[in-house]
Symmetry: C2
Subunit: 326 residues, 2 copies
């Protein structure tokens, strides 16, 4: 979180009156600081990229935001319930999932968000790297304390995938598909990935951290993923508002997560099936100790992929790398 409490308050105030002038006097009264302090903070916001007009004897007016993922922006532009209670924001961090796990271990509540503008050590599945350059994408982790048993944890990944695919479709108007178990594809390339981690005993989950990385405005990728990765900007040909994608995702997540908590996971599963690019197609799966090829029939409540092999048996696959065959 930003350290300067009254900077947060100033931003919230200007955001709530965006496009209108607020007098320096009103601001200094509401924030309980001097008008010189207000002026200093306005300049601080300008350095962050906020366009703030100031007219002598009239006041300040927020004209344009720099599309940062600041907590105040999220609070102002969405109506969230449990996800908005606690937000940790970092201009740069190693990994939001690692930070979220530490916070959760120390008691951070259900729904806590950890958001970074940049990850220097972003992680994907199986310890792979997730490239997370500053201000180009959404690098986010959510701390959850669901009443699930450990084997049900993949449901969280599926819930997150549904919310993200719906948000991308709605905001960017792009056909986005879920690839089992944890990727989102646009035009056959990876646009987002989900990494769900948990702390559990054998009876119940202590906490889950579900992290998502969305390539929003990336224009370039490292050589090793150039062929397989894309961004919303590369597909749509224009900049996409990160804040819009983020707040839509969070709103969608709250809706779908409620189904899951209310024992209506079937509804999530149904949406997942509609958004999946695997089902009904030939897939090849490479797991740790096996390889498998066959027809992807369905997913079950535990998030396992049901694959009909050429031998005619139906295998229940819990993890592995999937490629689509035509």
């Amino acid at each position: 979180m930003m350290k300067d409490g009254s900077l947060n308050e100033l931003l919230l105030l200007l955001l709530s009156k965006k496009g209108n002038y607020v007098s320096g006097e009103e601001i200094s009264e509401k924030l309980g600081v001097s008008r010189t302090a207000v002026w200093k903070q306005v300049n601080h916001l300008r350095k962050l990229g906020y366009e703030i007009d100031s007219v002598p004897r009239v006041g300040y007016c927020l004209k344009k935001s720099p599309d940062l993922l600041l907590p105040e922006e999220i609070i102002q532009s969405s109506r969230l319930e449990f996800l908005a209670r606690k937000i940790y924001y970092y201009p740069s961090i190693g990994s939001t999932n690692d930070e979220a796990k530490k916070l959760a271990q120390n008691g951070a509540p259900h729904g806590t968000l950890v958001i970074a503008e940049e990850q220097t050590g972003g992680k994907g599945r199986l310890g792979r790297r997730w490239v997370s350059p500053p201000r180009e994408g959404i690098w986010l982790s959510i701390i959850l304390r669901p009443s699930l048993e450990p084997y049900e944890a993949p449901r969280i990944t599926m819930t997150c995938a549904v919310a993200a695919a719906k948000a991308i479709r709605k905001v960017a108007g792009i056909d986005c598909w879920i690839k089992w178990p944890n990727d989102l594809l646009v035009e056959g390339k990876k646009v987002a990935g989900i990494l769900t981690e948990m702390s559990a005993d054998m009876d119940s989950i202590n906490f889950v951290v579900t992290g998502i990385g969305v390539n929003v405005n990336n224009t370039d990728f490292p050589a090793e993923i150039k062929e397989t990765a894309t961004s919303l900007k590369l597909v749509s040909g224009k900049n996409v508002g990160r804040l819009k994608i983020l707040t839509e995702f969070l709103s969608q997540f709250e809706v779908v997560y409620r189904y899951l908590e209310d024992g209506e996971f079937g509804k999530v599963l149904e949406e997942w099936r509609q958004l999946s690019c695997n089902l009904g197609r030939r897939v090849r799966i490479i797991g740790r100790n096996y390889e498998l090829e066959g027809l992807a029939l369905d997913v079950d409540d535990d998030g396992a992929l049901l694959v009909k092999t050429d031998g005619g048996t139906v295998e229940r696959v819990l993890s592995g790398d999937v490629s689509l065959r035509e």
Copy 2:
């Protein structure tokens, strides 16, 4: 760990020559400290309960140890491989499992031990309390980094239970039984409990912390568990060496854990079956959302209990409270 490095060294030296005199000169040379410093440290050890004889111009002789679970004692009295590499020792701590999880999160290696003489917030399954009075039992957690998938984690609990039951049988000469999923019983009462916790993503386990509490020399229990708990001392009628139980347990654990890692979990399972008090008996299981009564047939590779109900179906039970029916 003890802060005073040379105190550790002194103890190791005296332990290695237990019953024999070592001259103050030899000690001060080996430890690189003055003879006055040696004398001070001898007195420090005496305060911890060590009986150390000192004869002018002859030296010091360790006559008797106070049965503390100090790392030096463990190292001296066992031949451990991976479990002895790093030991954290606390005279008193909240919960060894919580401490171990923090250490693991910060990178503590496979095999790290966390040992306390007292737990002020000892935990059992389902958030229950585990009474852990000072110096009366063994309160211990092991950090493991197994190459298992999350659903296989219950194997660790089973491995730990087998090692503990064997150690108790061998050292205390008492018939000790494993009660699914995580308790050890003597004469029908609980003498030890295991709490296995894990950090995992959907593909693999990051780390497991398996904690065990063994009631060794307890003579009294709080009212709410008086009828159901016992200790090795209450059963055998005499004090039992905690250090002996502990080091035997650790040695057994290394043997059984190796089976598990080498893909020979069947061997562990076979020992588990021999030591189980559930199999072949009528059990009643109370889970979170169900109750079940029937004949306990077997356990499977995932640690699930297979119960044949009166209706004739075989249920696969992953968690729950079990009571034995006659």
